[in-house]
Structures are given as C-alpha cells and as structure tokens.
C-alpha cells in the first residue's frame, strides 16, 4: 500500500531547519537581520538571553555559517561584533515564508498594522 500524499505545506513545515527554528536562535537572527552589526552585550539585552545561553546559541549559528563573530577591542574593552551572513539572511527568510504559508492554512496571519515594540494580548 502506497503512502498517502501529504500537503506540501505540511511536508515543508516538518522539514523546517531546526538550527534556525529554535526560538532563541530565531530571535537572534531576526535582530541581526535588522541591523548592520551588533555588539554581544546589546544583543544580550535585546533578546533577554543570559551570557552563557547567548554564547552557546551564537556558537551553533556560527558553525552553521549563519552568523559571523568578530572579536576586537574598543579602547581597552573587548568588543564582539556579530553579523548575519547572506546565507543566514536567505535561510531565515525562506524559513519564515514556509512558516507563513503553513499558518495561512489555519487562518493565522500577522495583524496588518502590528506595531513592533508594543505589547499585545490581554
């Protein structure tokens, strides 16, 4: 007996890239996509992740070629600059499109005039 064909949207969502799909890494990539470069401390405060947690996630993203980590100094202070790679940007967008196609199947769409930075919900 042959396997029943599954909807392409379901097939695609099951094949989501877990390196990107993990919530913290998804947020890290989204923030890095929105700026030219970010300092480690700044990214830590924007995502609310702890130093160790952020460091671990960045290590995974760097290994996958999705971000670059550049270590240097600003005056006497060490400074780590983080950037999303072109591949990271492409994969984040592709992943987001897959998710949106899937969510559209269950009638969930982003609010039209959602204003970033505002709390939502009750």
């Amino acid at each position: 007996m042959s396997k029943p064909a599954i909807l392409p949207e379901i097939r695609d969502v099951l094949a989501l890239d877990k390196t990107i799909h993990e919530p913290a890494r998804f947020a890290i990539l989204a923030v890095l996509l929105s700026v030219d470069g970010a300092d480690f401390t700044w990214l830590m405060h924007q995502t609310g992740l702890t130093q160790g947690n952020l460091s671990a996630h960045l290590g995974k993203l760097e290994s996958a070629g999705l971000v670059t980590i550049e270590k240097g100094f600003q005056g006497r202070r060490p400074k780590t600059t983080l950037r999303i790679t072109p591949e990271g940007a492409d994969r984040l967008k592709a992943q987001s499109e897959t998710l949106m196609r899937f969510l559209a199947l269950i009638d969930i769409r982003p609010p039209r005039r959602a204003r970033p930075g505002k709390e939502t919900g009750s």
């Binding site: 929105s34 700026v35 030219d36 401390t41 700044w42 924007q46 952020l54 270590k71 780590t80 600059t81």
Partner: protein, 196 residues
C-alpha cells in the same frame, strides 16, 4: 536592510534619555542667555553641546548597553528627515516674523496680537521639539505641546521675557531626560558589558 524591527530597535536606542538631557540643557542655557540679554551666546549653545552627544553615548550609554550599527540607509533617512524639518521650521519662523511685522504696522485693528510675540520663541521651540518624532521618540510630542502651551500661557499671562518661557520649557525637558537617564543607569549597571 530596514525592517519594522529595525525601526523599533532604532527607536529604543534613544530611550536612554541622553538626547533629552542635551536638548533640555541646551534650551535651558538658551533661556538663561536670553534672560541675560546675551541672545548671541544662546545661539552658540547648540554648537557647543553637539560634541557632547557622542561623548555622552561613549561614556554613559555604550559601557552599559553597547550599541548596534544601523545601516547607512537608516542614518541617511534620519538626516534627510531632520533637514526637511529644519527647512519646515525656518519656513514657520519666517511666516511668524512676517505676521508680526504685519501686526506692528497695521496697529489698532489687531490690538493684543502683538503681546503674542513674547510667546513665539517658546512656540517655535515647541515646533522644533517635534523633530524628536523623526527618531520615533514620541515623548517629544509631549515636550512640544508643553513648550507651545508655555508660550501661549506666558503670552496670555503677560510674561514680558521670552527667555523665561524657553528656560521653563528646557527645564521640563531636562528634568524628564534626567529621570530617563537615571532609570537607564539603574537598569544597566556600569559593569554590565559582557563578552562572548
């Protein structure tokens, strides 16, 4: 790449209060200069304070929170908006000047409007403060309303020195800026920078 998230992050990068402190301090000093009949000195205040923007960011903000690099597109867009706002402000200033000249020359028919002159610098300050909206800092709308209100109230109450109204507007912005900066410094301690 500029996304809605870029705009939200850019807006948040001005929430530390340093911009408010500098603007408030500048207006307060301009007000003091006007009260001391040293209007020319007051005109120099923005040029004197401008370098402190970078100094304050480096000494107060970056050691605590660091900073992101927003693309050249975003910075160019802000520069264009500020230039547009300056031209708009200059246009309003010239219109008000023309109006005052007209009132002074036409005399009796418009009695009382000349008294409004005392409030005009503060009203202009109020319009100028709205420029803070360009970087998304909505509190500058409140500052603008307060300065404009002070200008109108001062004219109505018969205040004779425009410098006093500018000083009061500046003191209000400065107080708000100090409160925001104090909150920022408490939230992000000086030794709060981390490295991977």
């Amino acid at each position: 790449m500029t996304t809605p998230l870029t705009r939200a992050l850019y807006r948040r990068s001005f929430d530390d209060g340093w911009l408010d402190v500098l603007v408030g301090l500048g207006l307060t000093l301009i007000g003091v200069a006007w009260l001391a009949d040293q209007i020319v000195l007051g005109a120099l205040v923005p040029a004197v304070l401008a370098p402190f923007w970078t100094i304050g960011r480096r000494k107060l903000v970056e050691p605590r929170l660091a900073s992101p690099q927003f693309g050249t597109d975003r910075q160019a867009q802000t520069r264009r908006s500020l230039t547009g706002w300056a031209i708009f402000g200059a246009g309003i200033a010239l219109t008000e000047l023309a109006f005052l000249v007209f009132v002074n020359r036409s005399g009796a028919g418009l009695t009382g409007l000349g008294d409004l002159a005392v409030g005009i610098p503060a009203i202009l300050v109020g319009i100028g403060l709205l420029a803070g909206l360009i970087v998304g800092a909505k509190r500058f709308l409140a500052y603008g309303v307060v300065a404009t209100g002070l200008g109108l109230a001062g004219a109505w109450a018969g205040v004779e020195r425009p410098g006093l109204l500018i000083l009061l507007s500046g003191a209000f912005v400065l107080a708000c800026g100090v409160a925001l900066l104090a909150r920022f410094m408490a939230r992000y301690p000086a030794d709060g920078t981390h490295d991977e």
